[in-house]
């Protein structure tokens, strides 16, 4: 019994995927000797690690961008300071020129103030500036110092009234100095602006780069996560699908298939158990099949034997009766003197032959009845019958015996009983058995048959004033071959089958049988049958 493999039940894309290297990966993961729990945990851990890495990269890019922006801000500040220096220088030049014209002392103070501003700003600039700009700043400071010395000279000359000298100093020394300083400051500003521009370019480049890195990371993470998810989930789905197919087969009653999975985890263990179960089921199924076959053949043989038995019974019944018929027949025609007069001495033994022959006949009838009841082959010949007629027949055939024993023997049927439905011949047999017993086990007094209707039930009752039945025997007398006292039996014959057959026949009609008895006083036997029986089987 070959099973369809799991791949035959899968949609084609899945099959193609599993045939690819990815499939090999799936099987490799399945073969890993680790529990499902660990595998799932590993999968989630992988994804978590990817997220952590991505976060780290983003953080790094973020701090880098922040640093560059900071540098840009600083450069920007420095450009501002340079512009302030330029301004302070212009003011200085203005105030120096003013000092010459107004000879005002306050002007000098203003020049000094502007100078201080210049120096302060320059000092700040120097502190913040990158190393390569230090030389330029030193040069500016030197020139400024020179310019301040010249300012002092000019101021002295003005105070002393040497205006021409002051003018000359201003023109020949101070103005070139200022021009030099202006040029220096200008180049400083230009340098800072170049730096700013380059910083801007590098920031843009860095942000483009970080964007690319992040996108790359995101794509890689998604692909990796999908791959991991696919591989791990399929390493679980494959055995589940296999198991599904396998269990469907089991459900359809096809046992003995095997399930093959690469897994070495819980699924692998499960598959192993299922294979074991499958083998076990197959074995049980085979055993059951064999047992059923045996039972079937046994049943056939039993049915055959049962048929043979009932045929045997039918044949036996006739075969036994045929010679008995001859015995009883010859006896009767001899007693009827068809062969001539019978001598008185022969009459008694002839009657003995007849009595024993009849007894043998009853015995045969009883045994056959009983065996047919036992075999469940006794069918009631259901039809309409008259209760009055039955009682009359029984009374008539036992009347002589009662007379012989000097017993009062009456039969009473309540007049309201309609025609009944059942096996009249069997009911007759039952009543005959009870009345026969009553007469047999009564030495003096009376035997009465009485039938009345109780609703839908017929109640047949036979009471006698006979020997009665001991309490502890009442239960047993309905069993086969049960007799209380065999001395009476020796006197009147009997085998102990009458009551058991009667009980079965009554029950076949759906009724019941019972007795009330007092030892030494008498017995009251009764049986009930439905007024209308549909018949039944023993």
């Amino acid at each position: 019994m070959r099973r369809a493999s799991a791949t035959e039940r899968m949609p084609p894309p899945v099959v193609a995927l599993l045939a690819s290297p990815l499939g090999a990966l799936v099987r490799a993961v399945a073969r890993i000797r680790a529990s499902v729990h660990v595998k799932l945990l590993a999968g989630f851990l992988l994804i978590t690690l990817l997220f952590i890495a991505m976060t780290a990269v983003s953080l790094r890019t973020l701090t880098e961008t922040a640093r560059q922006t900071n540098l840009l801000d600083e450069a920007h500040e420095r450009v501002g300071w340079s512009r302030q220096i330029e301004h302070a220088l212009a003011m200085q030049m203005h105030f120096t020129a003013m000092a010459l014209l107004s000879k005002d002392d306050g002007i000098v103070a203003r020049i000094l103030r502007e100078n201080n501003r210049f120096n302060d700003t320059l000092a700040r600039l120097e502190k913040a500036a990158p190393a390569e700009e230090r030389a330029l700043i030193q040069a500016i400071r030197g020139s400024q110092d020179d310019a301040m010395a010249t300012v002092a000279d000019i101021a002295n000359a003005v105070r002393d009234g040497r205006l021409a000298d002051a003018m000359t100093a201003l023109r020949t020394r101070q103005e070139p100095l200022y021009a030099k300083i202006e040029t220096l400051v200008g180049s400083l500003v230009a340098a800072e602006e170049t730096r700013m521009a380059s910083l801007r370019v590098s920031i843009a480049a860095a942000s483009r780069y970080s964007l690319r890195v992040m996108a790359g990371f995101a794509v890689a993470s998604i692909v990796l996560a999908l791959l991991g998810g696919f591989v791990i989930s399929w390493s679980f789905i494959l055995p589940v699908r296999e198991a599904h197919g396998f269990l469907s087969e089991v459900a359809e009653g096809r046992f003995g298939g095997t399930i093959v999975v690469p897994n070495r985890d819980e699924f692998g263990a499960l598959a192993e158990h299922m294979n074991w179960m499958s083998r076990e089921l197959r074995r049980l199924d085979d055993e059951q099949r064999v047992a059923a076959e045996t039972l079937r053949s046994l049943n056939d043989r039993l049915a055959l034997a049962s048929r043979a038995k009932s045929e045997f019974l039918a044949n036996m019944s006739h075969e036994l009766r045929t010679p008995l018929n001859a015995i009883l027949g010859f006896t009767e025609i001899m007693l009827d003197e068809l062969y001539g007069e019978v001598p008185a001495t022969l009459r008694e033994p002839l009657v003995d032959i007849q009595t024993n022959g009849r007894h043998l006949l009853r015995l045969i009838n009883d045994v056959l009845d009983l065996s047919k009841i036992e075999a469940g082959r006794l069918e009631l010949g259901v039809g309409e019958y008259s209760v009055q007629e039955i009682v009359e027949v029984v009374h008539a055939s036992l009347k002589s015996l009662a007379l012989e024993k000097n017993l009062a023997f009456t039969a009473g049927v309540s007049p309201d009983i309609p025609p009944a439905w059942g096996d009249g011949r069997r009911i007759t047999q039952c009543l005959m058995n009870l009345a026969g017993n009553a007469l047999k086990f009564t030495r003096q007094g009376r035997v009465d048959i009485e039938v009345r209707l109780d609703g839908e039930w017929l109640v047949y009752r036979v009471s006698d004033t006979g020997i009665g039945i001991p309490k502890d025997e009442v239960e047993n007398i309905f069993a086969e071959f049960r007799q209380v006292d065999t001395t009476i039996t020796r006197e009147y014959g009997g085998t102990g089958l009458g009551l058991s057959i009667t009980k079965r026949l009554v029950e076949l009609h759906g009724g019941r049988i019972g007795v009330e008895s007092e030892l030494g006083k008498g017995s009251r036997f009764f049986f009930t049958v439905p007024l209308r029986t549909d018949g039944g089987r023993a």
């Binding site: 009766r321 001859a326 068809l338």
Partner: protein
């Protein structure tokens, strides 16, 4: 008026002998057959006035023989008594179904048999 004929179909010699003895003092003419086939043949040839048929016979069962005789227009009307076995419940019903006029349970009393014959063939 010719003597009326009784055909006794029975395989047991002693039972045939009883009937022979029983009818020896009567005006009936007795014919005998020991199996079903012979019984049917004799009945069709002799057209008796009454047939006594045992239920269980060699070659052809009493019931089958009865059915055959009932199917034959020449013998269909002849009174036919089937001898059954009481203990076999339903034998009598089967006999009547096969077309018997009456049945008599074995073992029968010769007196009863004679009464039955008289019933079908009254002596005048």
């Amino acid at each position: 008026m010719r003597d009326r004929t009784v055909l006794h179909i029975e395989d047991n010699e002693y039972n045939r002998k009883i009937v022979r003895q029983l009818l020896s003092r009567t005006p009936y003419r007795l014919l005998e057959a020991a199996d079903g086939e012979e019984g049917v043949a004799v009945a069709q040839r002799e057209l008796p006035d009454l047939i006594l048929m045992d239920v269980q016979l060699p070659k052809l069962s009493g019931l089958d023989a009865t059915r055959l005789l009932r199917a034959d227009p020449r013998t269909a009307h002849i009174p036919l008594v089937v001898v059954t076995s009481f203990a076999l419940s339903g034998d009598d019903r089967r006999a009547m179904d096969a077309g018997a006029s009456a049945y008599l349970a074995k073992p029968y009393s010769p007196r009863d048999l004679l009464a039955l014959i008289h019933k079908f063939l009254p002596e005048n």
